[in-house]
Subunit: 357 residues, 2 copies
């Protein structure tokens, strides 16, 4: 998997930390330009330094504001931050809504912050796959944290959060109606809950509902939660410290008894209130991930998933772009519509055709 001369030059600039090289590298990966896989291949050895934080939740929950707040606090610690904002997009027009990113725009003037808005190409899974690989590029560039901000509660957003080390689910007091619908999906992907806009009425109530739901559901899963849970950072802090004291061998011991207690925090991101607690919870979660062996487990799952995606991309390209698939499909459309063929008989022909070819 050799780099082209162009890409080799780009890689040099990238390794020197040039922002324009980062922007170009992201475009290559995001737009699946020729050679993008060789580029990712060449970057692979530089991965693993960044803490990848997924920030998700229903529309209007304040994800951008929370991202901006986190970024500001991380910057005060001198960290370098990459932000990927995934906007909902239209399968019809291909256009994306960029939303209001006023705070983010201020941060964007900071040389140590890099913000990229992304739009799905409308292909099933396209959003999730590309986002993960753009996060790889940012990781390889040397950011300390890569924030991935996604809207929505759908399957592809779940896949984006599955690619994060730590997933923050943001709700608002008004999200009560949604909890019932969300708990089966997103709620189990969340490592940390945030009730944002907590100065509105109902914040305590929804926090309690979330805690009850966590208790009822997660008690039966791998992330089982002890009887007392919720906003108990002290306890989580203690657990993380214990893990840390056991040192590097932590990931070799039996972790059966050591679970992450999912905190349910309250913030008013607009004023910055509570965002420091979120920073703290994220630090604790990262410590826990490392010390419990969970980080390694999640990364292995991710690598396997990445291989699967790359294999299936090759297979698709071979049949639809290099092979005769598209021509065979178009030739069959009239017969399909007339009912003389079915999608399954046509698929057989196409797969056979690709084999013969």
């Amino acid at each position: 998997m050799e780099l082209t001369a162009d890409h080799a030059e780009l890689m040099q600039a990238f390794q020197q930390g040039q922002r324009t090289a980062l922007a170009r590298a992201i475009s290559i990966v995001e737009n699946r330009r020729p050679g993008f896989e060789s580029f990712l291949h060449a970057l692979h050895g530089r991965l693993g330094g960044a803490h990848r934080i997924g920030i998700t939740g229903p529309p209007g929950a304040g994800k951008s504001t929370v991202s901006a707040g986190l970024t500001q606090l991380y910057r005060q610690r001198g960290e370098r931050i990459g932000v990927i904002a995934v906007d909902p997009t239209s399968p019809y027009t291909g256009g994306a809504l960029l939303g209001d990113r006023i705070r983010m725009n201020e941060l964007a003037l900071d040389e140590q912050v890099f913000i990229r808005s992304m739009a799905s190409r409308g292909s099933l899974g396209g959003l999730a796959v590309t986002t993960k690989e753009v996060a790889d590029v940012m990781d390889a560039f040397g950011f300390d944290r890569v924030l991935v901000e996604t809207v929505g509660v759908g399957q592809s957003e779940l896949d984006v959060t599955a690619a994060a080390d730590s997933t923050v689910l943001i709700l608002v007091p008004e999200s009560g109606d949604s909890i019932q619908a969300m708990k089966a999906g997103l709620m189990e992907a969340a490592d940390i809950f945030v009730i944002n806009k907590a100065d509105r009425t109902g914040a305590d109530r929804i926090a309690r509902e979330v805690q009850m739901t966590l208790h009822l559901r997660l008690g039966h899963t791998m992330r089982s939660v002890p009887a007392h849970h919720g906003v108990d950072l002290k306890r989580a802090r203690r657990a993380a410290k214990q893990g840390a004291q056991q040192g590097d061998r932590a990931d070799h011991r039996d972790n059966t008894g050591q679970h992450w207690e999912i905190p349910v925090l309250q913030t008013v991101a607009e004023t910055g209130q509570g965002v420091d607690k979120l920073v703290e919870a994220l630090d604790l979660h990262r410590d826990w991930l490392r010390n419990s062996g969970e980080l390694s487990r999640r990364r292995r799952l991710r690598l396997a998933e990445r291989v699967r995606e790359a294999v299936e991309r090759r297979l698709r390209e071979r049949i639809w772009q290099e092979g005769p698939g598209q021509d065979l499909l178009e030739a069959a459309l009239d017969r399909l519509e007339a009912g003389e063929e079915t999608p399954y008989s046509v698929a057989d022909q196409i797969v056979r055709g690709a084999n013969g070819g």
Copy 2:
């Protein structure tokens, strides 16, 4: 694509209209049991009779209640109704929340109504693909309407609605915050808008917002909307009638000037208020689909998509189940984690291995 003896027997019972045969057929397709494609192949000639209606919107909007209301009115006309309720599900536990379906349970006692709750298997795209094929089974069984009820605003839900002839997007007065986020995706998939729970304050305001958004965005797409639009069923009725008068040749003429005006209706589905207008709007939309040639266009797109899915399913099975892909992947995991290999070099090996095999 021969049916097994078992499936041939099942197909007979299915063709005789036995509900137990329908339930078994759906299970075969939903669970991808061996031979499910041959079964779908055998059903293909019976497709096309049902009006497929997608009902979507954010959690808590009242989709089930609207579905139930529609079903009741369709039953009063003597129609046979199939309902597919797609519940959000967990990628971790595989469990689905069935929600409260009290009204639906009453309807379920009606022999002419068949309700199926479905859960995604957690695989990317699994939800969308399976739902469409279950809708095929219901269509082939002879239902007049197949309602597909999906929660959420994600990509896979969009794919489900793309499989419907008519898509209804349900909002509530409280959805104001969400419109900004939704308009790029779901809003353009909608053929009809419903503001449900319209007895709450804010219903008129959100109806206006939707209309404004439709005007701003859709003015630039294939579904361009004239200056005066909105709750104008009379006008839509006139357009549909004009189409109908032009008879069967309607789909051969140039439709450039003939657009569907997206109605924005208000309902209180809890009491049934306004649901009759939705029935009327759906009838008009179906007439328009037929007369404008759009139905044929949408169905051709769907057939092509179905072929693509079937081809890619074959390719995936060949490499991961029949081929050596999974073994090669597992053998590479340690080297991947150690950074000695990258997902892209491993993918190359797997694709080469599959070719050689």
